[in-house]
């Protein structure tokens, strides 16, 4: 099993005729994903790697003849909110927002509408998610043959604020023989649709997942929320965390942004040092090096 995706999962690509979207469509199809349509206004009737293109999401759903499960939104920042609203209003329940540099207010509105309608947003500013041997949704892991090298089915769930590091960490888990159940690139922005705490209940319910690895950075409250969730839910699922950007705690780096838009230390609480303390206090193992992750996971699950 996996979270969010399964063998029958269908999705569309919004903005499918863009350069990046064409690549992503090829990669997902090669990996075994079922893409049932693409949307680019004014391009109805075209095909991208055999996937029919429509002007609207409604047309795509009508053509498919039954509800579509997901959408990958790869449209320019100024149009992303409308695209996501359109997907939600046409009954789509899982939307991966790849686009970066979306104004924060738009993101807040997207996330709120998704909450109201029982839909889920992954991202923005993310590479999507992958369930090895099942499907991938988004550019995560790159071309199918590269993705298959780094991602082999296994027992560890991965959540990461960095798209690239999702693959680096998963590759390490795969090389160590642990493998990955589902890996989610959750996005690097200040506001995202699905945080660690939002996804944890799904991993808890997944029989394949025995442990979680998170990649985290300074900035924001997401790690504090994970700790709060863990305590409230009484969850004991082993979690190993890797914290990047410790150098940002230096006095000379105050107020500077590195890496992702959401990676900025604004107060003491969101510094790397404070976050590490908080995570450790909740029984989460924090490692200093990526290559220490597999052993830390094995120790926690007793493998």
């Amino acid at each position: 099993m996996s979270i969010l995706l399964n063998e029958d999962f269908t999705f569309i690509v919004q903005g499918i005729t863009g350069r990046e979207a064409v690549n992503l469509t090829r990669e997902c199809l090669d990996f075994g994903s079922s893409i049932v349509g693409g949307v680019t206004p004014g391009r109805k009737g075209r095909e991208v790697h055999g996937v029919p293109v429509f002007d609207t999401v409604e047309q795509a759903v009508e053509h498919h003849g039954k509800p579509i499960d997901g959408a990958v939104a790869t449209v320019p920042p100024a149009f992303t909110k409308d695209a996501v609203f359109e997907a939600i209003e046409n009954g789509i329940k899982l939307i991966v927002v790849v686009t970066e540099r979306i104004p924060r207010r738009d993101v807040a509105e997207m996330v709120e509408l998704a909450d109201e309608r029982g839909a889920r947003i992954i991202g923005p500013n993310c590479l999507g998610l992958i369930a090895p041997g099942v499907a991938k949704m988004g550019g995560i892991g790159g071309p199918a043959k590269d993705a298959a090298k780094a991602y082999v089915a296994g027992s560890v769930g991965v959540m990461s604020r960095s798209g690239g590091m999702t693959t680096e960490i998963s590759s390490t888990l795969t090389a160590a023989g642990l493998g990955v159940s589902t890996a989610v690139s959750i996005g690097g922005d200040a506001i995202i649709g699905s945080t660690y705490a939002d996804l944890m209940p799904l991993f808890e319910e997944d029989p394949q997942t025995e442990a979680i690895v998170i990649y985290t950075e300074p900035g924001g409250r997401m790690e504090a929320e994970l700790v709060e969730w863990r305590e409230e839910a009484g969850s004991t699922m082993p979690i190993v965390a890797f914290m990047a950007g410790r150098f940002m705690d230096d006095e000379s780096m105050k107020g500077m942004t590195f890496g992702h838009a959401g990676t900025i230390v604004e107060g003491k609480e969101d510094s790397a040092t404070e976050k590490i303390k908080r995570l450790e206090s909740a029984g989460i193992t924090v490692v200093e090096r990526i290559d220490e992750i597999p052993d830390a996971v094995k120790e926690r699950i007793g493998a």
């Binding site: 071309p143 690239g164 680096e168 690097g188 950007g245 410790r246 150098f247 590195f258 992702h260």
Partner: protein, 220 residues
């Protein structure tokens, strides 16, 4: 707009209120749609507001990035005073590698981010800028596993930077650790120029350690 703070607020004798001072913050992503109000407030839109004055290095890297649309490069040296030139990427990879260098006693000369499959001339330009910083003799070229950015294209860029500066790539590039897309093609190029490289079986930590040892280790 992410923050609007009015302080102090004064009450006039007729009962109306006047803001005596205000502080507003807006994320860069939203500036485009608020041009009118920003112009009215006298904000110069051509001058991006930073927390500090950008250095020549930062300005030059920004200009190279703006010169063509393929990929993105970033460079910062505010607060960095060491001699290890870092040609690194992408967002999370750069944070991880900067920590890995520092935690093994290394002193980076800069921070950098390569992403989105930049052109040869862009990675070449970034590497040249770093190599021309005071005290920098060698660079470490490292990223987390890439799936979009191409290994061979970055290899061409950094080797070209050395050649254009009259330096031997095999001597100047302490370590090249970028596994992923087009790696076999990249390794052919690196072999030809005698550059030490590592594949995905070498961790980011160990690659950073090699860079520290070769650049700061007293010629070891």
């Amino acid at each position: 707009m992410t923050l609007a703070e009015i302080n102090p607020l004064a009450k006039l004798s007729d009962g109306s209120f006047v803001a005596l001072d205000a502080h507003m913050e807006m994320e860069d992503e939203a500036v485009g749609r608020h041009k009118k109000v920003l112009t009215e407030l006298g904000v110069d839109l051509s001058e991006p507001r930073e927390m500090y004055e950008p250095s020549d290095f930062e300005r030059n890297v920004k200009a190279i990035d703006a010169a063509d649309h393929r990929g993105v490069i970033q460079g910062k040296d505010h607060g960095f005073t060491g001699n290890i030139g870092l040609v690194i990427g992408a967002g999370g990879g750069s944070l991880t590698l900067t920590d890995a260098v520092r935690n093994q006693g290394g002193k980076p000369a800069n921070y950098a981010e390569i992403g989105g499959n930049p052109s040869v001339s862009k990675s070449c330009g970034l590497a040249k800028e770093i190599l021309q910083k005071d005290g920098v003799e060698k660079i470490a070229v490292m990223m987390s596993i890439v799936s979009n950015t191409r290994v061979d294209i970055v290899a061409r860029g950094v080797i070209k930077a050395c050649l254009e500066l009259g330096k031997d790539p095999g001597e100047t590039i302490a370590i090249f650790r970028i596994p992923g897309a087009w790696e076999d093609e990249g390794y052919k190029i690196l072999d030809k120029y005698g550059v030490e490289y590592a594949d995905r079986s070498v961790s980011m930590w160990d690659a950073a350690g090699t860079a520290v040892a070769k650049i700061q280790g007293g010629g070891a």
